[in-house]
Symmetry: C2
Subunit: 355 residues, 2 copies
Amino acid sequence: MEPTPNKQVIFLKTLDIGYPVVGEHIAVQESSIDLNAPIEQDEFILKTLTISIDPFIRNPMKTPSTKKSAAPIAYYSIGSPIYGFTASRVIRSRNTKFNEGDIVTGVTYLEEYTLISPKTNPFASWLTVRNEIKESGFPLSYHLSVMGMPGFTAHAGLFEIGKPKKGETLFVSAASGAVGQLVGQIAKLQGLYTIGSAGTDEKVAYLKEIGFDAAFNYKTTPDIAEKLAELAPQGIDIYFDNVGGEILEAALESANRFARFICCGMISIYNTENQVGIRNVFQIVGKHITMEGFMVQDYGHLEGAFIKEMKQWLNEGKIKYRETIVEGFDQTAQAILDVQYGKNFGKQLVKVADF
Amino acid sequence: MEPTPNKQVIFLKTLDIGYPVVGEHIAVQESSIDLNAPIEQDEFILKTLTISIDPFIRNPMKTPSTKKSAAPIAYYSIGSPIYGFTASRVIRSRNTKFNEGDIVTGVTYLEEYTLISPKTNPFASWLTVRNEIKESGFPLSYHLSVMGMPGFTAHAGLFEIGKPKKGETLFVSAASGAVGQLVGQIAKLQGLYTIGSAGTDEKVAYLKEIGFDAAFNYKTTPDIAEKLAELAPQGIDIYFDNVGGEILEAALESANRFARFICCGMISIYNTENQVGIRNVFQIVGKHITMEGFMVQDYGHLEGAFIKEMKQWLNEGKIKYRETIVEGFDQTAQAILDVQYGKNFGKQLVKVADF
């Protein structure tokens, strides 16, 4: 049999500071795979259907830390594919848990076809058969976005760390993004006053459309701390941080006593050269602020309950969700860059093959 | 009757950045008080015996913030006395709860004699009759230090925020200070591995003497992050932060997943001109670090249990405690400065009058 062409997103070069460049640090390259070659017991082959393009994809491009206390990042290997969240279909299997035709979500190497060897693949344990998706009535992409990892991130971070209480004020940055748009809407459902920041006037308009009480364009706001003080004279009780940097500083200034800061991501510093530090961390002391970071897998035991609740909210029309979906595996590398630059509007995905 | 001379520490001038100067920002000035003049119902007069000199005394010298969300600091008034923790004796009273001869601890204006008008004095509700001190067998100073606010700060911060577990590693900065020396010793009693930093070799030697597993002089350490990695290759589970700045950054680098950072104070930035920010706050995300600030009054309900436990530890010889006591009210202003510069060794106090 002829081998089948298999496009992959290959990691070319480590990059600590600055924005990655397609062709220099990552690139879509064509390999091939013999889909009919013998596979080992427990192995299976997935055909990638949709790829979730997340901000974190930038971080494993950095020089691996050798410290025992380093964050548990699986760094990319030069010359090998990078990884990310995908939805795919099992097209061959010698694994009793993954059968031909099953729909699977989880983390895989980013390639059109991927052979999973459970014994050696570091992400195999994150793969889940999700055949209920076939009859869910929602687009496949939703299972990687609003009902997937970004949705769960918003939900777990807001409830487990934010502990929202009716009448409180929440601020979220990157508020029209994959996570942010849900944080605001879920908080609103809990009776909070919600404020969001985004990087274009179009995104700000969208935030008001989906129910944020206030929103502003941080790129055209000369003094973010002043703007927050104006929009939230009552102070901020919860800040859901997706960006870090200057906006985090402003949120610390506006925080009330016993405020909770959910540290979800800090995209403002993933690529920047001159990392300005946070100069007002001292606010934490006098105002008894709690800042807590998390990775969504820390709350894995809550995922089932999240999916159930989100499905209900979607069915009742209580949650709206914006995605940007580009078509074709070739678009993957550029889509990764777009997310780093904030060019995406809502959740960025790549449709690779039909459901 | 002749009025009695009454020395006070007077606030002269607001200071946002830089170290306060005696004579320019604060000064000991002599006023007078007629100890026999009529007093109103519920008023009483305290004679100050001992003053606790704490790092926080610097903060109310800053320009008052008008923000609703500002930390609840009672800023000093120009021309009036500053305030602090004191132990004193009631010498006159028309208050049924405070009787002549009672020993009282709490927050008062810093002056030799202080008339308390409960209706208008913002700190009156913090004053407690502590007659058990008379027969406690401990020096009066201990009731302002190891068994007082700094001791309670160490205990409440460590247990309520740090949640120490046997076998974990704790790092504390300003480790020979009023709070730090207790944090290390209490953590050791819980079975933790303890590391401390201090600013002189003499202080470092003291830390080893009182049982710290490791200690270093941060002033002679070229790379603090490297030093921490060397002293704690297993990583840090709890960091008790009294200084902020570069040492906080280093602790973030060495933190393990799920580390707890107790933000107690950040003396490194109380007086500095070029406030360098914390550049690696992102560590909080991937390592699920929790940073939480506090003011000891947030845990007021736990103070009784603390005093009981500390008394037992002291009686059993399980806790050692170092103080620097200067004599005479005139020394107060300089002692305040010494603490800001880190010249004090252990808890700084001023003895004003005999017990």
